[in-house]
């Protein structure tokens, strides 16, 4: 008797369960189609800095004010901690609904089916790309499918302190055609007249600056397949170090023991007024200027001898992607569209993530841009005319390669090994790391 009761109870509960889940699922689809007051909850994650965090949170608040049924929880960290966290979240299947993504990791994520193809949302009009030129989207495409939409365009640059030029009484050169020889001359002249030093060629990631130089020869740091170095002629690599060593010997270059310890912009030599230049991505101007007393300007990196093509390229500064595991992908897509196209949202964002990709947003922003943003908009305009196509995303072992390259740079600048030894080491170990 009891057994039968149990069985009936079991069948009943199973029926109840399937029934209720049916009801809930239909309820959900109804709410989505009619945009009813269904409560929805969404997590948004990005890496950033205090300026960006403030702006992004303000946009999320604006969206919530417009859509009272939506709750957005924001998650932000610096660049380093961000990927630790995202990788942990991949492993524990708890990725956010919308995440900021980077060109370097895009391919790895797509290959593991971690990201949603956004094409259906574009086709259905949830995400409006009507004002976006295809060239801005190519970085986010893999095999014809769209996995990330860039919120802005970015380019590597040399940023300089205008007040130092004034104090030294030096005429600013034509920065679209200046060479490394000009750079050296200016650095020495500034030092002699003002005592202001020159920053070593990118301390956080020396490879980025070398990449710009080697790209001017028509080659790239990595081969197209990422299995080896993309160059065999070491002339440019040697010159890259020799420029710095000559300046170091003359006392013009900041001592590597001081220059390489910088972790935050506040600790940087530019913020302390010790140097006249630094090397940053164009979207970092706001945060760099925030800690610098004097007005900064942004220009193209110098040309190498016999340059065959411009070394600078336009890079999608960062993408926004929707993970395949997102609990609320439709709301995430709507939010992404808001992020991208809404004029009020973009007024708040103020191109902090790079120059926006929809042409109407770009034009509107440029008209009302602050002086600081005008510099970035103008610079991106200059790069658009003086750039070569972007290389494929970094290969898998690029992390290890960068460490080796940075260590070798320090060894050479600290005089522990000679340029020839260092260059031989980079070529040999670089190929070995990439071949793994």
């Amino acid at each position: 008797m009891q057994k039968r009761n149990n069985r009936i109870l079991l069948i009943l509960s199973v029926m109840l369960f399937t029934f209720t889940s049916q009801v809930f699922s239909t309820g959900q689809t109804e709410a989505e189609s009619s945009e009813g007051p269904e409560e929805s909850y969404m997590r948004l994650a990005w890496w950033g800095n205090p300026v960006r965090d403030e702006k992004t949170i303000a946009v999320a608040n604006l969206y919530m004010a417009n859509n009272p049924s939506v709750t957005i929880e924001t998650e932000t960290t610096g660049w380093g901690g961000y990927w630790d966290r995202i990788n942990t979240q991949v492993a524990s299947a708890s990725l956010p609904d919308i995440m900021q993504h980077d060109y370097a990791y895009m391919l790895q994520f797509v290959q593991r089916n971690i990201l949603t193809d956004l094409t259906p949302y574009v086709d259905s009009g949830v995400i409006d790309l009507g004002n976006v030129n295809e060239t801005f989207l190519s970085g986010g495409r893999v095999d014809g499918k769209l996995y990330g939409i860039s919120l802005g365009t970015n380019a590597f640059s040399l940023v300089y302190d205008t007040a130092v030029f004034e104090a030294a009484g030096i005429a600013e050169p034509d920065f679209t055609s200046w060479t490394w020889a000009d750079f050296e001359e200016i650095a020495i002249e500034i030092f002699e007249k003002t005592g202001v030093q020159t920053m070593p060629l990118s301390t956080t990631d020396p490879k980025v600056l070398f990449d710009n130089m080697i790209r001017q020869t028509g080659a790239s740091t990595y081969a197209k397949d990422g299995k080896s170095l993309g160059f065999t002629d070491t002339t440019v690599l040697k010159e890259y170090f020799n420029v710095q060593l000559r300046l170091l010997e003359a006392g013009v270059l900041v001592n590597p023991e001081v220059a390489f310890v910088t972790v935050t912009a506040e600790e940087g030599q530019l913020a302390k007024g010790n140097v006249w230049c630094d090397y940053i991505w164009s979207n970092q101007l706001a945060s760099t200027q925030a800690v610098s007393e004097n007005p900064l300007k942004m220009v193209l990196l110098p040309k190498i001898k016999n340059a065959k093509r411009p070394g600078t390229f336009l890079k999608p500064s960062m993408f926004f992607s929707i993970p395949a595991s997102a609990e609320n992908p439709d709301e995430a897509a709507r939010y992404l569209n808001f992020f991208l196209n809404d004029s009020a949202a973009n007024d708040i964002l103020a191109a902090e993530r790079g120059v926006p990709i929809p042409s109407d947003v770009r034009e509107a922003l440029k008209a009302s841009a602050s002086d600081l943003n005008k510099i970035v908009f103008d610079y991106i305009g200059v790069v658009a005319e003086n750039s070569s196509p972007i290389d494929p995303p970094d290969p898998k072992s690029s992390g290890e390669f960068l460490k080796m390259f940075r260590d070798s740079t320090q060894e050479i600048l600290m005089g522990i090994i000679s340029v020839d030894q260092g260059v031989a080491k980079i070529m040999e170990e670089g190929n070995a790391i990439l071949a793994k």
């Binding site: 990927w83 990788n87 023991e257 310890v261 290890e400």
Partner: protein, 317 residues
């Protein structure tokens, strides 16, 4: 059961059964009370430890699925220059900072063992570095102190020395800033030493006074032997802490082990392999090597302890 009770004592059996029930009930209550801890222990210690052991024999890049590759990770370590470099840095760090910290802690504990007015206040002040010691904030402060334009150089310059060294940027001095940081955080060892000192019965000293022993003799023959179990405990704990140091090195070098890997302690390199190069398998293997090394040193200290650690309870035997 029947063998023991011999059949004749049915009542005894009954009694032992009810006793047994009571014991089981009591045990059950005990297990219920420690269940939260047990669950945590298995979920957050045992299972992750076994998983890491499995990962150490795989190639695993976090995003994908682990692929078994035998002992390849361990073989690759032999050829990994930075693996050896990080081992060397860690040994240097542990072998210099542990004795320094213990000596310092011991010295301060001896000072505090006297009856000075306001001793509690001093104890608190000296313990503070250890409370805040593991925190990011202190390591950040340390960075700032030892930078080229940091407070250390300012003080030296005020004293008339013309020093502009970037202590954290010079390969020869960077590790020393971490060692000084470790020595500065002597508080917890100091408190344990102090507790040990307070435990030493006063009549030994009184007896020694009657025999006319001087204070050095008293220190060697009474204080040190009585304190040896505490020294033993502190040594083990600090060796383990020394070999697994991470936070301080991570923050002071900005996560890079700079300059020129002079602060690339083992745990930091392990972290880089795991979260910068996405080689979870390799770093799991590294973690197990660290377990072996720490285990080896602990075993050596334990083995040697019979020669130098003195337990009062054994004395009477």
């Amino acid at each position: 059961m029947s063998l023991i009770t011999n059949g004749s004592t049915g009542i005894n059996l009954e009694k032992s059964l009810s006793e047994r029930k009571a014991i089981i009930r009591e045990n059950l209550a005990g297990y219920a009370f420690i269940a939260p801890w047990l669950i945590g222990f298995f979920a957050f210690s045992i299972i992750p430890i076994l998983t890491s052991l499995y990962f150490s024999f795989t190639s695993y890049d976090i995003l994908g699925t682990p692929v078994l590759n035998g002992v390849n990770n361990f073989k690759n370590m032999l050829q990994d220059k930075l693996f050896w470099k990080s081992l060397a840095v860690t040994f240097n760090y542990a072998f210099v900072s542990v004795p320094l910290r213990l000596l310092f802690a011991f010295f301060v504990a001896l000072l505090f063992n006297r009856n000075i007015r306001g001793i509690r206040f001093y104890q608190m002040i000296y313990y503070i570095p250890s409370i805040v010691g593991g925190s990011i904030a202190v390591a950040v402060m340390w960075r700032r102190l030892f930078m080229a334009d940091g407070a250390i150089n300012s003080v030296l310059n005020l004293l008339g020395m013309d020093v502009h060294i970037s202590w954290i940027g010079k390969p020869d001095t960077a590790l020393w800033t971490l060692i000084i940081l470790a020595t500065w955080q002597f508080g917890s060892s100091m408190l344990i030493f102090l507790a040990g000192l307070k435990q030493i019965p006063q009549f030994y000293y009184e007896a020694a006074d009657i025999d006319g022993a001087n204070s050095f003799r008293k220190f060697i023959s009474i204080t040190l032997p009585h304190l040896s179990p505490v020294i033993f405990f502190n040594l083990i704990m600090q060796i383990i802490a020394g070999f697994t140091v991470f936070t301080q090195a991570f923050v002071v070098s900005g996560g890079s082990g700079d300059p020129l890997n002079s602060t690339l302690v083992y745990a930091l390199y392990l972290y880089q392999r795991a979260f910068k190069y996405y080689e979870m398998g390799y770093s799991s293997a590294m973690a197990w090597i660290l377990v072996l090394i720490v285990g080896l040193f602990t075993a050596i200290i334990f083995k040697s302890s019979s020669a130098w650690v003195f337990y009062e309870s054994k004395e009477g035997e």
